[in-house]
């Protein structure tokens, strides 16, 4: 039976991690739950383990993207065929996990993005972030040809082929976002969206808050442009080559 994994990167999320893990286990009982403790100092790892998650602990903080990549490596080495990544701060609803994985299980997509932008969404995004999201939506559409409503959403489901792609050095170790979607699209990954509900964070503040947001916009814009012209490694064109082989 194919194995599925929920990947939750966490850094000092002691307040929210127990409820996130519990909700994952209740909403997606067929999924294993993995928490990657990214050098927390508040006992996040012990709380996550107590809540029933498998836990990997980095010896020190190596950033969000690297924590996600640890989860991808774990999934690949342990034979998982699909992974869903969600944040530890309670923003993402574990109830969406099964719906997010469905297009991959049906063979319709390799990567599914949970979108906050739809008619029934109750998520309130501040105006500046909304402008930023529109900018990246435009960039991704122009540079990769993929139409996505929410290219900066961290709630995603990934086929094993995409895990292989994201485990390479091409994957950004700080804020993987719209830039990796461009990389994935150019590597032949089929990307689709599923409407989801997102909540305000119940744990720590967003990593895109304050002055860091300026750096984030700069860095992401640069990476999206670079990824749109960077040579694609033939070895990681797995999704496309496997479809051709099939």
């Amino acid at each position: 039976m194919p194995r599925h994994l929920i990947i939750i990167p966490a850094w000092n999320e002691a307040r929210s991690i127990a409820s996130v893990v519990a909700n994952c286990r209740a909403s997606a009982p067929d999924f294993d739950v993995l928490v990657i403790d990214d050098g927390s100092s508040d006992g996040t790892a012990a709380i996550a383990a107590g809540a029933g998650a498998a836990v990997l602990s980095h010896p020190f903080n190596i950033r969000y993207g690297a924590a996600l990549q640890t989860g991808y490596l774990y999934a690949l080495r342990n034979g998982y065929s699909l992974a869903v990544q969600l944040d530890a701060d309670g923003q993402h609803d574990p109830a969406d996990v099964v719906r997010l994985a469905a297009p991959i299980l049906r063979g319709e997509a390799d990567l599914v993005v949970g979108s906050r932008f739809h008619a029934a969404s109750t998520y309130h995004m501040p105006r500046l972030r909304r402008i930023g999201s529109a900018w990246f939506r435009f960039l991704v559409r122009v540079l990769s040809g993929v139409k996505l409503g929410d290219p900066t959403s961290g709630l995603q489901a990934l086929h094993r082929d995409v895990l292989e792609l994201y485990s390479s050095d091409e994957f950004p170790l700080d804020y993987p976002d719209a830039d990796v979607l461009v990389l994935a699209a150019r590597s032949g990954v089929r990307i689709t969206e599923v409407p989801v509900q997102m909540r305000a964070e119940i744990g720590s503040a967003s990593m895109h808050s304050g002055i860091r947001v300026l750096y984030y916009v700069y860095k992401m814009t640069l990476c999206v442009i670079v990824n749109s012209v960077r040579p694609v490694d033939k070895r990681i064109r797995t999704a496309e080559s496997r479809r051709e082989a099939a």
Binding site: L56, P59, A66
Partner: protein, 129 residues
């Protein structure tokens, strides 16, 4: 005095014994510091070529200041000191960029090591249980 005469004067004024002595001292000191750092294993041999090339260039220019004047003419500068500063800045830019590239690679390697440690820790913990 015309502009060309002024420029010629500035160039001619640079050929002094003091300049030669300072340049020779800097070149020899750089040679010594690089060799000593390698001897004490504080500097990798692979990083020495750029520093020894720099020391050699200073040495050559100290021996033959006419070469510096020729280079000054070539790049359109007015004074030899401008030429020295120009190439020194280029050198610092190049070495900063190369260290940035090295640091990026090392950062990637450290990250991958931390990821592997996390997975090994989990495996050891599972085995112990």
């Amino acid at each position: 005095m015309t502009e060309e005469q002024l420029r010629a004067l500035l160039l001619a004024d640079s050929d002094t014994t003091a300049v030669r002595v300072v340049a020779l001292t800097v070149a020899l000191a750089l040679f010594f510091v690089v060799f000593d750092a390698v001897r004490r294993r504080r500097l990798s041999e692979s990083l020495t070529p750029i520093w020894l090339t720099c020391a050699f260039a200073v040495l050559v220019l100290a021996v033959d200041l006419k070469l510096l004047e020729a280079m000054t003419h070539l790049i359109g500068a007015w004074t030899p000191s401008s030429t020295v500063f120009f190439f020194a800045l280029l050198f610092l830019l190049a070495i900063s960029l190369s260290y940035g590239i090295v640091l990026t690679r090392l950062g990637r390697q450290v990250t991958r090591l931390a990821q592997e440690i996390a997975m090994l820790r989990a495996r050891i913990r599972d085995d112990e249980e």
